[in-house]
Amino acid sequence: MTLPLFLAAAVPPSTPAAGPITLSPVSLFLEADIVVKIVMIGLLLASVWTWGIIVSFTARLGRARKRSEEFERAFWQAQDMDAFVKDRGKDDAPSAAVLQAGISEWRRSTAKRGLSAEGTRDRLATAMGSAVATAIDKISDRLNVLATIGSVAPFVGLFGTVWGIMRSFTAIAGEQNTSLAVVAPGIAEALFATAIGLFAAIPAVIAYNRLSHGVNRLEARLQRFADGLYTTFSRELEGA
């Protein structure tokens, strides 16, 4: 910080500037104040984390949706439900967990004599509903991080900028010189903090909206599968 300022003051106006003015992120970072540096590092880590979550979450959501779809198609085409459950009941598709919850509740309810069909239907619905909720909870684990980064990162960046600008104004007061060469580097560094904040926040907000929409669709699909199972079990209860 002090060295470029000194140089700028020492170069007489008649001589051209030493080279092109660069705005490389590394030089902006290195010349910044310690507080601004901490803010920048934090925001950079937030950005890395955001993209890590985006990548892993997209992969996990896509895998869950594809497996559920495939599992449900196979389930409705299966002739023998018991054989299918024995064969594929341990799949890691969310639908398999819902099926597993329904089947185990069905077995527990039908094992004992004397339990009413009404109560069994209620228990089946509750068991499968909670299985859907558990699966969705497990998948949507990191979404809150995206929401937090998306809403907080701009403010953190703004804090770094305000701090950096305050500092460069202090430098102006110390230098007793208001020429643009004194003011400009400090403000450029300070604004870099806001830039990184936005750099982290914008993908986080977009990804949060998009991924929560994906989670909602998966939840609706699991709920429909649970409803189908419920009607099937209900029919079986009537028939029994």
């Binding site: 106006p13 660069t22 490389s24 890590g52 979550i53 990548v55 892993s56 992969a59 990191r142």
Partner: protein
Amino acid sequence: MDRSERLGLGVSTAGHVLLFGALSLGLLQTSVTLPPPQQTIDVSIADDVALTSMTPNPSTAEPEAAQAPEIGAYEPDAAPSEPVEAARVVEPEPAPRAIEPKPKPQPRQQAKPTPAKVTQPPKPAPKPQRASRLGNDFLKGLDDAPPARNPAPAAGANAPMGQAAVRALNAEINRQIRPFWRPPSGADADRLVTLLSVHLDRNGGVVGQIEVVGQQGLTASNRAQADLHAERAVQAVMRASPFRNLPPEYYDEWKWLQPLRFDARLAQ
């Protein structure tokens, strides 16, 4: 943190490193290339108009009322003799002619010879005075009858050089200082004036200490800039020295630049 999250973090870290590496290495770098400086031509404006306009030697004396001569008989002999007498007293040896071979005489010494010359045997008048009906006091209001030939008594120490030469010398010194003169900016900073005293040797180099003789235009709001102003003025002289192209025959005039004035106008 399961396998997919580790994978995601790895991918995103690699992406960030790639992006910032590319930015730092200048692949996406914003470089502001300045236009090449144009070939500068030094223009020295020889301002024949002085900075403050004034008459060469304004007379404060009330001009005497002109008296019409008595109309009498035409006397061819009497008329020539009187103007010769008057011309002898009023017109000194024209100064520039006396200086050209020898630039030494100082203004105070200059002042003395003038009355001395009156006592010398008068030279014959350059032109025979024409007889006139006008009175002798016709030009009395203009107390310097030949002002053009009597260079600038008001210019003080610079008198032996002539005003044009002084202005040219000042312009030359200012021209050499101007590229190095960067006055501080700020509220009222353009009002500040710093006066320096600089001694030069015959090669135009600075001898001894550059002294700040005074500062003008100080206000409450530019007081903070005053020291910097003076410091920049001294720096400008240091950087501009040695001064070149100063006429060696006028060394006496520029060996001591007494009030060397630094103000906002010099920077323009």
